[in-house]
Symmetry: none
Subunit: 210 residues, 4 copies
Amino acid sequence: MAQPDRVRDADRTRAEIIEVATREFADKGYAGARVDEIAAKMSSTKRMIYYYFGNKERLYIEVLEHAYAGIRAIEQQLDVEHLDPVDAMRQLAELTFDHHESHPDFIRLVSIENIHHAEHIARSTVLGGLANPALDVLTRILARGHESGAFRGDVDPLDIHMLISSFCVFRIANRHTWGAIFKRDMLDPAYRPQHRQMLGDVLLDYLAAR
Amino acid sequence: MAQPDRVRDADRTRAEIIEVATREFADKGYAGARVDEIAAKMSSTKRMIYYYFGNKERLYIEVLEHAYAGIRAIEQQLDVEHLDPVDAMRQLAELTFDHHESHPDFIRLVSIENIHHAEHIARSTVLGGLANPALDVLTRILARGHESGAFRGDVDPLDIHMLISSFCVFRIANRHTWGAIFKRDMLDPAYRPQHRQMLGDVLLDYLAAR
Amino acid sequence: MAQPDRVRDADRTRAEIIEVATREFADKGYAGARVDEIAAKMSSTKRMIYYYFGNKERLYIEVLEHAYAGIRAIEQQLDVEHLDPVDAMRQLAELTFDHHESHPDFIRLVSIENIHHAEHIARSTVLGGLANPALDVLTRILARGHESGAFRGDVDPLDIHMLISSFCVFRIANRHTWGAIFKRDMLDPAYRPQHRQMLGDVLLDYLAAR
Amino acid sequence: MAQPDRVRDADRTRAEIIEVATREFADKGYAGARVDEIAAKMSSTKRMIYYYFGNKERLYIEVLEHAYAGIRAIEQQLDVEHLDPVDAMRQLAELTFDHHESHPDFIRLVSIENIHHAEHIARSTVLGGLANPALDVLTRILARGHESGAFRGDVDPLDIHMLISSFCVFRIANRHTWGAIFKRDMLDPAYRPQHRQMLGDVLLDYLAAR
DNA sequence: TATGAATGAGCTTTCATTCAT
DNA sequence: AATGAATGAAAGCTCATTCAT
């Protein structure tokens, strides 16, 4: 029984490093994050970061992989086949809305990765082949909506996904400059219901057959 | 005649530093950008950066101020009072769409500034008080559209601005991760007309009085 | 029967470590060799190196001792008493020539040890007292050659040994810089017979009574 | 006059770094040498090493280039055309003998470079194209000696150079292991005349026409 | 006898910044 | 107004070694 415990310790150490590093990278960016700072904020030592991840970049890539893993499960919360396409579409949008709002670190990591031209995603064996399952669900909803006569049929699912993502991501990613310029915090809970409603309305108004 | 020339040389040196630094910061982020690299890419020397800007942060702030200054002129291209509100709305959206597409460095600087919690905007005397004139134009269009019966009246102009911005910014800011995950370049010219059209449609469908 | 087997396993493990470490030290030098690298190249683990040898330096010393042990058997291949002194001398030289050529790792270890001022030889109980038996054989040949009137009598056997060694060692030890500067590989098989012949000629011309 | 002084300071700083680094690399080898140690032994700082040389390897390469530069002037001390070939040959050998004895750091650097498979010479633009002028002089002496009937004509100048080098290098390069095994310091001044004489005799006996 | 996890000390290198002229 | 040389502080990373079982 000694072996499993040690293995669990190793996993625990790895997991803690990923967790602390996620916060640090999301907060400071890749170049701005300090390996020493990550070490200081965890119960293990800096040496362990190099023991498990080899270097800063590989740690960052694993942080990215871990962060992206979280979003893959979104669509599984949606029982799309038993829902009216209109309801399904709104629910899918709101699921994204809620997910992004509750995962600001993920959104920030994505921003950071874009600053780096997504070079680390390209370098990741995991993320390179990541198909977004939410897109399949969306495609299915659009098809069923078109069949039922509720939706127009000339839309590209990926464009709809872009519309949803842009709205949900923007609130989080551009929160600070927006707040500085317009003196309004897009994430102020007071605006939340109105924005969440707005997203669904925008989508459904656009998709509505005419 | 010596003085003015020297002044003009000084202005030219400043301008070149800003120009090179804009590219460097936009490309690498604030922490990732290197003062040495900026110096190497310009015709003047590193010492001049410190002579004119004091330190890296103040240079970055001036880069940001310079970049934001560019966007303020957008709405001036729009003769809003002589246009039908529906046309004016579509034109305003397309103006933003076009501007952002042709100013990727600005969008990237905004992303970078958000990574840094907009702390430099807060520190800038210029940017702190920056009111976005586009918002006034937008407010005016929405009011006229509501008066004419074309638009619904229950929308917050800033939310509409957010909708436009999110769509226009997302294509640029998230281009690389999107491309890495979905294997499609959002900025591929082939998609441009369709996205530009889509933005206007989304807006007008949503704003339409019902 | 368990004990002997374990002992044999232990010997086998030790032998493998020595073997792998010899290659690694000879290839990279003492400071350049990595304990991790040695461990990675063997079937056992890094911990075993410390288990059997205590530390890197003691491992290196044992590698050195093992390498020097190989050369002690050289002169035993020579049936010196039944040979004409001239033939014996040439054969002894060629034996050294052949041995060094076929043991480049030994030559490299000697170079490395010289870089370290032979401090590890001094620290080795085995090597400190190592008398080179080849020298006895050489001394005997020179004496018999002088008695027979073939050789001059005013030579120091150790100087002759130095002459032989310098020629045989140089080809191996300085192969790479020589090749880089003169664009000729001293170990190219095409030159081998000529160099081997030359060594004997040089020796016998010098030793010839006049 | 300010510029030249600063330039001289820069040159002086570079020269001091090379000088101290030569001793350190020659003493400890490439991997064993410490940049910190080099810095500690000079009047400038560690940062300057990186300012002028970029990294440890480039510093080592420049050390090597500087060390090799010293040996190129050897043959210029020899007025070969006005000497009898026999005398010229002995003088050339003694020049090499003396040079190597008085430049043990150079010999050690060559040994070290061989341990590294001469990879740094290969990487050096200077050393890659280094022709050894001493070889030209040697070729000339051999030719004149053959013409005069003093020397045999079937020898390759490079082989003769190898014979000279091996003898002169061996005393320095293998001094420590030799001393440890045979309890005799090859560089003991007491042996110097005898070895110097021996080298010339060996050479001339071998080259003598018969 | 054996081993995966862990580590302190120290290594090379980088970077924004300032000095001296 | 301009500049090449210099630098302190700290960054990322490595290495021989030991711990805990």
